[in-house]
Symmetry: C2
Subunit: 209 residues, 2 copies
């Protein structure tokens, strides 16, 4: 995987609690067919064994479609399934430590909600930033909020790719993309939909700026 060539535009984050009766693997595959360009597995309340097994399943699907696969938080799981990288939050492993374990070839994304955090992560070698929450969200109750204007300002002053996250859906994704960010991360806007393929396809259509 060429880190510089990654398409961050429609960044899917999983949450099996929002699937209803759907299967996670099938949902991810449909989303990719509909236009998701990157997949991050973010699952809480799983044993390490369950997370490892689920990550292995999703890795097979992303690999089949040539889409980068990122593991949330768990560097060990990322190493175990040879994922393309990890996404770490401010409460996860420090970036320099994660980099040491993963090496220079893997992607490391970092969640930030201020310019200062963004700059630090960039200086420490983050490959991309997840910035949010741009809208209120049920999946991350305690997330700090970032207005679209703040998002635009951070993006303008940061060199690495920026992905907006938090409550992004078909009704607001266009406004997010007008800030100049490289991508929008969605959870429920795909995972919670009855037809993830159509949901992704629709998001791709309306996000164009």
């Amino acid at each position: 995987m060429n880190k510089g060539a990654i398409d961050y535009s429609l960044y899917l984050v999983t949450d099996r609690d929002l699937l209803g009766t759907k299967d996670l693997g099938a949902t991810v595959e449909e989303a990719i067919k509909g236009g998701a360009t990157l997949v991050q597995i973010r699952e809480k309340n799983l044993s390490t064994l369950e997370f490892f097994q689920l990550a292995g399943e999703i890795k097979v699907i992303t690999q089949k479609h040539g889409v980068p696969f990122i593991v949330n938080d768990r560097v060990d799981i990322a190493l175990a399934v040879d994922a393309d990288g990890v996404h770490i939050g401010q409460e996860d492993m420090p970036l320099p430590v994660a980099r040491k374990l993963l090496g220079p070839a893997k992607v490391i994304g970092v969640s930030v909600s201020t310019f200062e955090q963004a700059l630090l992560a960039q200086q420490e070698g983050a490959d991309y930033l997840g910035i949010g929450a741009v809208f209120p969200t049920a999946t991350k109750g305690d997330a700090d909020s970032v207005s679209l204007e703040e998002l635009r300002e951070i993006k303008a002053r940061i060199r690495v790719p920026v992905v907006a996250i938090g409550g992004i859906n078909k009704n607001n994704i266009h406004s997010v993309m007008t800030t100049g960010v490289d991508g929008a991360a969605v959870v429920s806007a795909i995972v919670a939909c009855a037809d993830p393929y159509e949901a992704a396809l629709h998001l791709r259509r309306v996000m164009k700026v």
Copy 2:
């Protein structure tokens, strides 16, 4: 660290929820001074950052005293703080995967509760086994139980060191050691005591067979 020379006899497992007003690091250090021969950090409900930081603190203490330091479950934390190894349960990363990530020099212990699990773990290269729960315990509510007779039988048929775990305290540790096991793992019998040094010292005295 020479894996073959590890003294498993009084194996301390941490649980900060049982500390009361005591400090975890101080408790571990007092326990080592009293005779604990190995320390496993096993802490749930911590963020990865908190677990990493706490593991780093405990590592410094164990290293100072020349006592092996094992991390429960999290291979990434073990790698990040350069612990001596990990302890994995049946719901954690599969042993062959953990071994691949940690390499041959690190210690990998595996929790088992049957002879079949013990044999498999040994065949897969476990350095030691934790067998239990030998007595009912509050810290692991759903643990499978293993009688002292079963413990004796498993120990007799297994080559790698065996550590008994589960509800072991000053009143029953001697009976555990008469089964021929290489060590006894304790949690509350040290961590929950007002004086961890005296608790460890007393356990060492009464465990002798």
